[in-house]
């Protein structure tokens, strides 16, 4: 078909379906596609845990304690006779719930604060960034430990504990991008058109910092999963008998490392795969969203 007008060209460009785009993504970012596949698998596991898990993850069955992987218990059982596959499937639910909630809340608050700080500039920016510096001075896990120590354990408190250290990290990255956007004339133009500060921040600046923001969210989800597992492992996160990967690791790691290694191996594999998947996926998204890398 001979393309004659601009309108037709445009139609051609928009015609590419999401399926075609997906194919292109898979070809250009094979690792990212693998990461995306792992993420998708986890999400499906979490959503359909009720159908996928062969047994009740919290059911103690003392006649089946520490059974090695077999056809009956594909990944084996733990010291209470609970089916590991079921616990891993349900554990994905806990991991993703904590991971997504804390990554989204933390980065959204960070987004608004970071863009706001860059937009208003001056003293507000200065004071704000110093407060962020204080928060940033604590390593992620120490900060989370401190929060749990104050609020206590439990899934909500774990989410709070993971969310808080994410806020300054997100705000910092977003601010640096927003600072350069602040200087582009369309922000002055928006002010000259009489828009309010809130409107300019949310409508005109936030969409422009979306690229680094989205990449950060994927990285945060991975980190949050790891952090949740660490906290649970330390006994400060999710409590028994809730199925959570870090908790499973804690129960099995020391005692049964030699006699029943599957108790610790599977949750470890699950944690690593999840973090690996999110990181690969995030890297691929960064490459796709960054126009400088896109053409190469």
């Amino acid at each position: 078909m001979a393309v004659t007008t601009e309108a037709e060209l445009e139609e051609l460009a928009t015609k590419a379906s999401w399926y075609d785009k997906l194919k292109v993504f898979m070809r250009q970012q094979p690792l990212g596609a693998i990461g995306g596949g792992i993420v998708l698998l986890m999400v499906l596991m979490a959503l359909f845990a009720d159908f996928l898990a062969p047994y009740d993850p919290e059911l103690n069955a003392f006649e089946f304690m520490l059974v090695a992987p077999s056809w009956e218990f594909i990944l084996g059982t733990d010291q209470f006779g609970r089916d590991l596959l079921s616990r891993i499937v349900y554990g994905a639910r806990t991991a993703l719930f904590v991971g997504f909630t804390s990554a989204f809340i933390g980065s959204f608050i960070g987004l608004v604060l970071g863009v706001g700080s860059a937009y208003f500039g001056g003293k507000i920016d200065l004071i704000f960034q110093r407060v962020m510096d204080i928060f940033m001075a604590f390593p992620l896990i120490i900060m989370a430990l401190a929060v749990v120590a104050i609020f206590g354990t439990g899934i909500q408190n774990v989410i709070i504990a993971i969310t808080i250290p994410f806020i300054p990290r997100c705000a910092r990255v977003v601010r640096s991008t927003a600072l350069s956007i602040r200087e582009i004339p369309y922000i002055d133009a928006a002010r000259a058109l009489g828009y309010s500060h809130i409107r300019i921040i949310l409508r005109h600046m936030v969409p422009n910092v979306m690229a680094p923001f989205l990449i950060m969210i994927t990285a945060f989800v991975g980190q949050a999963i790891l952090l949740e597992a660490s906290l649970s492992y330390l006994g400060l996160g999710v409590q028994e008998p809730t199925p959570a990967w870090g908790l499973m690791l804690q129960g099995g790691a020391e005692e049964y490392a030699e006699s029943a290694p599957w108790v610790a191996v599977w949750p470890g594999v699950a944690i690593s795969l999840a973090v690996f998947g999110f990181n690969l996926f995030g890297d691929a998204i960064r490459d796709v969203l960054d126009p400088r890398l896109r053409s190469q």
């Binding site: 582009i184 369309y186 133009a189 002010r191 000259a192 828009y195």
Partner: protein, 331 residues
């Protein structure tokens, strides 16, 4: 005609580590309804700062309007609350910026950017705003406006984007449009089109226009009145006719001589203004132009000239304006 905008002794300063920059140092001028006023001068003479001061868009810190009054339709803009000021911006006074390539938000569609203004200021609903946006784009000469509404700024050329900016400025029927070097970033053929368009539309809709420019051709052709600025002050003001044909300030004269003219022999050498503009942190009480002036006398060092009216509607701040006139006549 009624006075639309009265700028009186406006002073805007920037407080930097290198000292206080007197970017605008006591300028006074009026704009009448439907009138086109040009503000000319070289880079850094305070043209843009004076315009931004009117809209209260000077970044603070480091800048601040430290003195003077700006009255718009009889109301002092400095006394308005931030909320009220926002209803003036875009609704009563609109602005067209220099860089059409970066004055539109790249992630929002053209339609969204225009309708947003309409919804904000005129409380139109979505359909009304869309209809009005199509009408506006048609008015500024953009073909196929329906389709353009769905496009992003990168789909448009520089000239088209500047047309969109003009449509945006006109969208809420403002009384005054401030155009800050609206054609500087465009190529010459497009410059003429954009200027014609602005001239026609402001005439048609009876909108007053302040054009900030360093292009004297623009002044001659489109402005009713001209303010020539140097080092933060207005040094000559008059009708375009007066200033262009009978300049009375050495700086205006030097500016006019520094551009090529079609009515002079082609080989005639251009005569640039010698020297550099003064450091705005180190102004003394003498005339700021004297180091570069061919007519300077001792009095210029001790005493800065003030604006005086030399004939109706023509004011100049120079001790030597009569000598300049004689020199011109004998030349």
């Amino acid at each position: 005609m009624a006075k639309l905008l009265e700028v009186e002794d406006l002073q805007t300063q920037f407080f930097t580590s290198a000292g206080v920059v007197k970017a605008v140092d006591g300028i006074t001028y009026d704009v009448e309804e439907g009138e086109t006023v040009a503000v000319v001068g070289e880079s850094g003479c305070g043209k843009s700062v004076s315009a931004l001061s009117i809209l209260r868009l000077i970044p603070d810190p480091p800048g601040r309007v430290v003195g003077g009054h700006i009255k718009f339709m009889g109301q002092d803009l400095a006394t308005l609350s931030d909320e009220d000021m926002r209803t003036v911006r875009g609704r009563q006074i609109a602005m067209v910026f220099q860089e059409p390539m970066t004055s539109l938000n790249p992630v929002l569609t053209i339609g969204l950017q225009i309708t947003e203004t309409l919804q904000q200021h005129l409380n139109l609903n979505k359909e009304e705003a869309n209809a009005r946006a199509v009408e506006l784009l048609g008015k500024v000469g953009i073909s196929d406006p329906d389709r353009r509404l769905k496009q992003y700024p990168h789909h448009l050329s520089g000239g088209m984007r500047q047309r969109v900016m003009i449509a945006l400025a006109l969208s809420c029927n403002p009384k005054l449009i401030i155009a800050d070097e609206p054609t500087t970033a465009l190529d010459v053929t497009i410059q003429a089109q954009i200027l014609e368009l602005m001239k026609d539309l402001t005439r048609e809709l009876d909108v007053a226009l302040i054009v900030i420019t360093h292009n004297l051709g623009v002044v001659a052709r489109y402005a009713d009145r001209v303010n020539v600025m140097y080092a933060g002050r207005i040094i000559e003001s008059g009708t375009a006719e007066d200033v262009y044909h009978y300049p009375r300030h050495p700086y205006t004269l030097a500016l006019l001589r520094s551009v090529p003219r079609m009515d002079q022999p082609r080989k005639a050498k251009l005569d640039p203004v010698q020297g550099q503009p003064p450091d705005l942190t180190k102004l003394d009480k003498g005339c700021a132009f004297r180091p570069r002036c061919n007519f300077a006398i001792d009095k210029c060092t001790s005493n800065g000239p003030v604006l005086e009216t030399i004939e109706k509607g023509h004011t100049v701040a120079c001790w030597q304006h009569e000598k300049l006139l004689n020199a011109l006549e004998t030349a």
